[in-house]
């Protein structure tokens, strides 16, 4: 297959005027098993610089598992992960985070005892380099670094319109706001690739609209590449440039929202019609 090589040189302008660049990440023939369960079976797809890539599919299709492979929580038995033009060896999740991949979780995983601000500050950790000793005496470089990163965290807080809950312990926030703080923590890392696992699950219509707007703004203003999992077809059609469709661990569709919507296998999977 030479698709990725072509894509690497190709630049595309989307209908709404954004530039999609070369391949940022490529999954090649990924297979992931848990004992007898095959969560992902021989799946390949790529994510291009600056695009919003959606992964959709019914429950248990293997979508979350795919994000977990990308950020290093799971290690596939087979296949290769290519990132920024190089094959990625076995790496631990915190090392992958340091390479610019940030994420949110299907079931919110915030630091519940901490305030909104502190949660977002932990997102800055990969940008903070001072050693323990200079932090302990809170001196010179360490202090400057803390101040600079604090300023960045405040910008994220403004961007997400959560000034009023800066100091609130996140455990006390309503669900929708927690999701937003979690997005903020991931954004704080200024990621090259942002992974969102069902960012709108469990939200009401208004919250969904807010979240959609934030996702589009992040992509538009910062040029952040985003891979997101979403159940709601309508939302996906609005947000995504390209869509991967998964079902029972296999890839059954890949293309623009239009293409995917008219794909017979996809329609069957979504409507539950048997396809044989």
């Amino acid at each position: 297959m030479t698709v990725s090589q072509d894509a690497a040189v190709q630049e595309t302008i989307t209908p709404d005027g954004r530039t999609i660049g070369g391949v940022l990440m490529e999954m090649r023939n990924i297979t992931l098993r848990f004992g007898g369960v095959v969560a992902i079976e021989d799946i390949s797809f790529d994510i291009r610089q600056g695009e919003i890539r959606a992964i959709i599919g019914p429950n248990g299709a293997g979508k979350s598992s795919m994000l977990n492979v990308i950020n290093g929580f799971y290690h596939p038995q087979d296949g290769e992960v290519w990132y920024k033009g190089a094959i990625r060896g076995p790496m631990r999740p915190h090392q992958i985070a340091a390479q610019g991949i940030a994420r949110t979780f299907q079931n919110i995983a915030l630091f519940h005892g901490m305030s909104t601000l502190d949660n977002i500050m932990t997102g800055r950790l990969t940008h903070m380099k001072t050693g323990m000793l200079s932090q302990s005496v809170w001196f010179g470089r360490a202090q400057r670094e803390e101040t600079e990163n604090r300023a960045f965290a405040e910008r994220i807080i403004d961007f997400l319109e959560i000034q009023s809950i800066r100091k609130t312990p996140v455990g006390r926030l309503p669900y929708g706001l927690q999701k937003r703080v979690e997005l903020g923590r991931a954004l704080a890392a200024e990621p090259s690739l942002l992974l969102l696992d069902e960012p709108m699950a469990g939200m009401n219509v208004e919250e969904k609209e807010d979240m959609s707007r934030f996702i589009l703004d992040v992509n538009d203003e910062f040029g952040t590449t985003i891979a997101l999992i979403e159940h709601d077809m309508g939302v996906v059609m609005d947000l995504a440039d390209r869509v991967v469709v998964m079902d029972y661990g296999r890839k059954i569709g890949d293309g623009s929202p239009e293409e995917v919507r008219n794909n017979k296998a996809v329609i069957d999977a979504y409507l539950g019609v048997s396809s044989d």
């Binding site: 090392q95 340091a98 940030a102 979780f105 005892g113 932990t122 323990m132 803390e146």
Partner: protein
Amino acid sequence: MVEFLYGIEVVINGLMAGVMYSLVALGFVLIFKASGIFNYAQGVMALFAAMTLVGVQEGQVPFAHLINSVFGTQYHHFGWHINAFVAIAVAALVMLLFAYLVERYILKHLVNQEPIILFMATIGLAYFMEGFGDLMWGSNIKTLDVGIPQGGNFWIEEKTAFLGGEDFYGFYLDTLDIYATVIAIILVSTLVLFSQYTKTGRALRAVADDHQAALSVGISLRRIWVIVWSIAGIVALVAGIMWGSKSGVQFSLSLIALKALPVLMLGGFTSIPGAIIGGLIIGIGEKLFEFLIGAPFLGGATENWFAYMLALLFLVFRPQGLFGEKIIERV
């Protein structure tokens, strides 16, 4: 009036004992929060740290017994006596090395195991360290003297004598206790400030809250574990110095960890403020109870069991501790 003044003296002594309990309890809480491990070896760590300190200070040859019986030699001492500060620094380095080894050879292999397995591992660790310490430094009772003066503090006694009348001789406070309290306060506040206001402190709290989320923002769990075990090692060293100076370095030193248990039941296993307040309550509580009820009505020596009784009451009426979150079983 005199009774009241002696009561105050009792409270002050209780506070000072309480700060030490808080310190030991803090060692537990840090490790428990960061890794979900109840570290049974905490007390033995204090013993081991104190033994190492004495050994280094006195110029003992480590593993002397082993070396001599294998090679037929007669080494016992290097023949030097090292300055207390240098010896403390060396002992601290040994505790840091210990933390690294624990992570490298034990914790790393037990990631994602059940808490009970981790607990068992620390029991194994405790017995290993106890034997290893004996092998390294000998099992005899050692006296530890890092130059902290002991006995009643006359200055305070004289200066406070005017408070009462004829029958009041001033507050009797042990100088060693005063030192211990000051050092424990400094250590505890440093730890609290460190965890609140530095990025590593924030990473520590993050790991305590959610391992997966911590990994996802680039925190290395293994690095954090080395850090918390190092801190717990230093806390153990300080506790070992204070208790060791008072009553000698011997096996019973490792039992100070038992004093931390009721503190944890009171304060909750996951709360740093809980450990501090819990320690103070037990310190004051046991001294005051002895003074007001124990000695006059119960024949004394209530300090041995008061803390546990209080902890039991808490287990019955407020099992999550003073500051722990309410435990709601999800169904």
